[in-house]
Amino acid sequence: MGLTPGYIARRLLLYVLIIWVTASLNFIIPRFAPGDPMATMIGRMEQQGARVENSAAIIAEYRRMFGLDDPLWLQYVKYLGNLLRLEFGYSIANFPARAMTIVARGLPWTIGLLTFTTVLSFVLGVVLGALMAWPRSPGVVRRLVPVAMVLAAIPYYLKALILLYFFAFTWAIFPSFGTEQIGRVARGFTLERIGEVIYYSTLPALSILLSSVGGWALGMRGMMVTTLGQDYLMLAEAKGLHPARVFVWYGMRNAILPQVTSLAIALGHIVSGAVIVELLFSYPGVGYRLYQAITSNDYPVIQAVTFILVVSVATAVLLIDLLYPRLDPRISYARR
């Protein structure tokens, strides 16, 4: 059946809804939270008045930008307008940088880390899971199931702590924190630069990889076992096809499809976990900047990071959902 206009329209509507809901939550929460954070924010800026020049002008700019004297609905409309231009105002902790500038600086690091680990763990996990279900695999591979369970069950951040202790403290192979050094690294795509990035990214990537591989392997194994029980597989074997061909083209190809759906569902969790991993390794992505913003009550940056994270995940999920019918033409998108 493939991509019908109705399906695309519904997916796009969901995409817009996700972003709108997040934006609205970001608007509502500060205004209904106790203690009037807006006043706190202005107060903080005034406290910094001694150090920051033009503080009065900044406060005036804030009042104008947030339209604090406007009625609530007008504030909301203006707020949504600002979001469309990705305008979150100034960072409080790192004035005069704009909140969006701080997020933009961290975004390549996070997207790089997550793309690399997600793609690699998905591929590794799917192959491993398929092998774990394949009766012809060596016994060692099939005995990896409990290992995969332990890896999948223990969250990223606990593995990050263990890796950090052994690799950064006990053996001192990798650095325990990265931001300070990373600022001094030469810009551009020099060999030295690439080496440095690998040096600072290995441990965060490893702690995410170890967890994700286990999860994908378990999921794939379950699907593969079901697929291997199908009649067409028996027929393929009876025809005398090469076992490798049966494994890849008759088994894996069909078992992998539900895994793609799981990937779309898991993306939000992957990003949530990565935020904590970045903090533990002081990895200079948006997660670490979120942590810094929390510790310094830098609300504009907190909101900017949150919004960008949600938009990124929603976009990735939308892409997967739009690609999926091309992968699996059996799927019917008629209303269930």
């Binding site: 809901v21 969250p155 949530s272 935020v275 949150t306």
Partner: protein, 304 residues
């Protein structure tokens, strides 16, 4: 109910893999047993431990700072002179309570929503399903961070309820899917013919059949609740006056326990949390097998 179970069993036996399923009808549910043992051991430790060690070790400056494990302090002391073992034992139950509240609230909401939308369908179903899709796509931690940053959480109960905002979509979807399948069954038609109200059918006829799914969803939600709450605590967004495993990790990490080699401070909460997560994971896997006979068949097929 017995009729339904028999019907399901017959269906399973006539499926292509039915031969296998019959051969190993007495399934030993290994994951469930191991999981219950792991979590049970932690609960016993958390309930009995504090009675044994007392509260003296919680005192700031109660002992020398950063003492490695010794006879007096089996797990050493932290940078403020508290006894790590005492703190650890006192932290287990509050950490579990966070998970139970968050998971319980999420499962109750999810079951009610899933049952009603799956059974009644219509426009309410569309709204709830869309809301669940939205909540599942949003990286929950991002929104939880915003809430916790503005509403500074001071109690474990408040934090658990905030975390519960994202623990309802999975139960909702799972229960809804099962309800959709169940509502076509003969006994539901029969109840309808005998004039029971829609709500009565949903809660009295369907609910008992959904119990295994509800239990599996509950354990999963408890796991997710603890996962999210420890994450928030590591970010420094949690209650600070109640001992919890998350608070312990956060304090140890921020005091540089890792890079100063104070392994006796950060390793115990890490191990306890790892055992807890593994136990909950195994329990929900085991419950899934009970709830879904197809999974049971998969597992048997996978380990011939």
């Amino acid at each position: 109910m017995a009729g339904l179970a028999e019907q399901v069993l017959t269906q399973v036996r006539t499926l292509p893999g039915g031969r296998l399923a019959r051969r190993t009808a007495r399934v030993r549910n290994g994951p469930l047993v191991v999981g219950v043992l792991l979590v049970g051991a932690l609960v016993v430790l958390g309930l009995a431990g504090p009675l044994v060690v007392g509260t003296a070790g919680l005192q700031l400056g109660g002992a020398e700072f950063r003492v490695p494990p010794s006879a007096a302090h089996p797990l050493g002391t932290d940078t403020t002179g508290r006894d790590v073992l005492t703190f650890l034992l006192h932290a287990i139950i509050p950490s579990l309570v966070i998970g139970l509240i968050a998971g319980g609230a999420g499962t109750l909401t999810g079951t009610a929503l899933g049952l009603l939308t799956g059974y009644l369908r219509g426009p309410v179903d569309t709204v709830v399903r869309t809301a669940a899709d939205i909540a599942m796509t949003i990286p929950s931690l991002a929104v939880l961070v915003v809430i916790s940053a503005f509403v500074r959480t001071t109690s474990i109960e408040l934090m658990a309820l905030i975390v519960a905002l994202f623990s309802w979509p999975y139960p909702t979807r799972a229960i809804r899917a099962q309800t959709l399948a169940l509502r076509e069954q003969v006994f539901v038609q029969l109840a309808k013919l005998s004039g029971r109200s829609e709500v009565a059918i949903a809660f009295l006829e369907l609910l008992p059949n959904l119990l295994p799914y509800i239990m599996a969803g509950f354990v999963g939600a408890v796991n997710g609740g603890i996962l999210a709450s420890v994450g928030l605590q590591l970010l420094g967004l949690g209650p600070r006056h109640v001992p919890t495993l998350g608070l312990m990790l956060e304090e140890a990490f921020n005091a540089g326990a890792l890079i100063r080699g104070l392994w006796w401070w950060w390793a115990p909460p890490t191990v306890v949390l790892a055992v807890l997560f593994l136990g909950l994971f195994l329990i929900s896997m085991g419950l899934d097998e009970i709830a879904n006979p197809r999974l049971r068949r998969q597992r048997i097929g996978g380990a011939p």
